[in-house]
């Protein structure tokens, strides 16, 4: 491996196991909960899921990496581990700086206006007030929230899911991240927003950041990423140029 490339994320033989509580039976009933506490027996239905099974790779500055694989192959779990939101049960994730994960489900502060969310989100990411003031218009324009009227002054709970996702992406993308992890966030926006976010990802890469993208949209992976990791059943199956891995993946999915 050429030492001239600088690694930003090193995933070293990572295994992730987590407990799923929802699988238990009779969770909703008070009597069953009481008897469970009283008898102190092992809660039935709590299952351990071994979602990621020994994945190793190194990502470098300026790379955009697409994670592909069928549903439940461990892509989102791996992203969470890289972001430091899920502990690895074995192995380690080393990162340069603090990676930021953008998911579709993360609501910011729904009772506050979009405007406040931009300011507070920026402050929470460690931007200064001056920086936010400088970039405020850019963030709002990028999100396209105000294209159909003055929506930025409305509470975020009034936004459609697409609008919310767009604003969140715009806030997070306003800062130059060393490592940005994007989980299906792009698929929520309309075509124009997707164009803008692709351009922004390219910019982040040029500023020597690393971008990870999970998407089921094969086209957006090949258009945005130069490298792809193919996960299947928690194992890394292929690792290489996005177009070639994607061709193999498409061939594989057609065969099934």
């Amino acid at each position: 491996m050429a030492e001239s490339r600088i690694p930003t994320v090193v995933v070293d033989d990572v295994h992730i196991t987590y407990k799923v509580n929802g699988a238990r039976t009779g969770r909703g009933s008070a009597t069953s909960a009481l008897s469970r506490i009283a008898s102190r027996r092992q809660i039935p239905g709590v299952r351990e899921v071994h979602a990621v099974r020994g994945v190793s790779f190194a990502a470098y500055k300026g790379e955009a990496i697409g994670l592909i694989g069928s549903n439940g192959s461990g892509k989102s779990t791996l992203l969470k581990a890289i972001a430091g939101l899920l502990p690895a049960s074995r192995g380690r994730v080393h990162t340069h700086g603090q990676p930021s994960l953008l998911g579709v489900n993360a609501a910011l502060m729904s009772d506050l206006t979009g405007e406040r969310n931009v300011v507070l989100g920026g402050l929470a990411m460690g931007m200064s007030r001056a920086e936010i003031r400088e970039r405020y218009d850019e963030i709002v324009d990028f999100s396209g929230i105000n294209e159909k009227g003055d929506f930025i002054t409305l509470p975020m709970r009034t936004y459609s899911s697409g609008m919310g996702a767009r604003l969140r992406f715009s806030i997070a993308a306003a800062k130059n991240h060393d490592v940005l992890l994007i989980d299906e966030a792009l698929s929520t926006g309309d075509a124009r927003f997707q164009q803008r976010s692709k351009a922004r990802i390219l910019e982040l890469r040029q500023q020597a950041g690393t971008v990870f993208l999970v998407s089921h949209n094969n086209k957006s992976i090949t258009e945005t990423c130069d490298r792809a990791l193919w996960l299947e059943a928690g194992r890394l199956r292929m690792d290489g140029p996005a177009k070639e891995v994607m061709a193999e993946y498409e061939h594989f999915t057609k065969k099934r």
Binding site: S56, H96, A172, E248
Partner: protein
Amino acid sequence: MVSQTTAPAPAKTPPHLSPPVYASGELAALAARHGLTVSGARPTLAAYVRQLWGRRHFITAFATAKLTAQYSQAKLGQIWQIMTPLLNATVYYFIFGILMKTKHGVPDFVPFLVTGVFIWTFTSSSITAGTRAISGNIGLVRALHFPRASLPISLALQQLQQLLFSLGALVLILLAFGQYPRPSWLLAVPALALQAVFNTGVSMVMARLAARTPDIAQLTPFVLRTWMYASGVMWSMDKMLAGDRVPHWVKLALEANPAAVFIDLMRFALIDSFGGDQLPPHVWAVAAGWALVCGAGGFIYFWKAEESYGRG
């Protein structure tokens, strides 16, 4: 462990696409060479304090935003900031002043009661807010990285801002009942500062507990109500504890009760007829001790689980 799927059929992977095989320790060495840090590891206490200081603008802005959003759905809006504590005090006056006549022997009962209610509300609402600090902002915690202690600290600050509104109302009530400003009013500043530190510490403890066990939030109101009745919010503890009716250790425990200490200090500062003889012994030392122990202890307790918030 339950195996979820069967291993995929061996694919004909082109050699240049197969994942590279690393020797044991090779990747760790690569990471070490470039100074990468382990993701999701808890920062040291000193680094954590530095990070938190870096987010001070977030903490204050979040508190103000929450304060203004609080009544944004009400028609009267921000007027409720002052109306809520006043209505609270009115209810307590009706029950404890008129119906139960606990005012016997307490001069200036209305200022006495209102001070007690406002100061108690400061502590109780800080603690209630603390239980929701992480669980109520889970979206924010999962989306962005920032020292999580910003949330309980910010919510405690919001309660302090709320208290300042209440104090505005309190001053009007004091003036209306013939309590005029005098130098001892300045003692309110250190008393409130100590109480704010105490509140923040306790709410950080609650934030960690409730983040792990959401059921805590259901239990808190009952604990708080019990604590309120033991804190002399609506009656004079000094009069109740007089004589030999209560055992000595109960008396000591009630006198050391932090809520009672902070309430008494405020009454001593603001009300003429509440003299120093009604204060428990070493009251400032007790107040400072509570603030120090709970403030520092709560912060360290919260920090110890920093990497676990928002997971799962």
